[in-house]
Assembly symmetry: C2
Homo-oligomer: 125 residues x 2
Amino acid sequence: MGKHVIAEFYECDYETINNHELVEDIMLKSVDLSGATTIKSVFHRFSPYGVSGVVVVSESHFAIHTWPEYGYCAVDVFTCGDLIDNQAALDYLKEKFGSKNVSVVEMKRGVLNLGVDLHHKPVGN
Amino acid sequence: MGKHVIAEFYECDYETINNHELVEDIMLKSVDLSGATTIKSVFHRFSPYGVSGVVVVSESHFAIHTWPEYGYCAVDVFTCGDLIDNQAALDYLKEKFGSKNVSVVEMKRGVLNLGVDLHHKPVGN
């Protein structure tokens, strides 16, 4: 099945999470640290503040939305296969965002009725 | 707060969910129907099968991953503000994917500690 980590990062550093280039760099590095493979990414900075971005990976996606005005980021790490180290990604994000308070929920995706594991997609296609 | 709809579409039409252009069209139309505003989208087709795509919207994101070989799609509709009709999007996706079995979970995002509503981002910036 797929594993979907739904993380709330509170009390983050304003400047960091309002900088879309920095947020993109941090997210791409977290993908690398997890062992996932980046396919494409798209990031956008809103005015006056806020960043949204998604990295499509072979194993599904990493997504982030930031509300710098509240020191808050919503992060999703949705991966398939058993080889991804989600915790490494989350630890890195917590450190880089300077978050003092993280809440994490993990859901399994595609369980009902399938009875099979969802494999990540082949790389390089 | 943000509203995150996590939907599993089972028993979908193989050809539809294996066609990345069609999946992108359907997802973009579902964004329109919900009343959300598309910022950027990125879609990718894997070989031999499977589509991944994300639409970044002012209100957060719509994401999809398809496993045509299992007739399964994982869909996320993450929106902020009270003006988005998620159900219209889900109904449209169910119809277009020919899904006979849909499972939906809704989570609230960014609730803990904030005590404020998460507004969507201004359009056009």
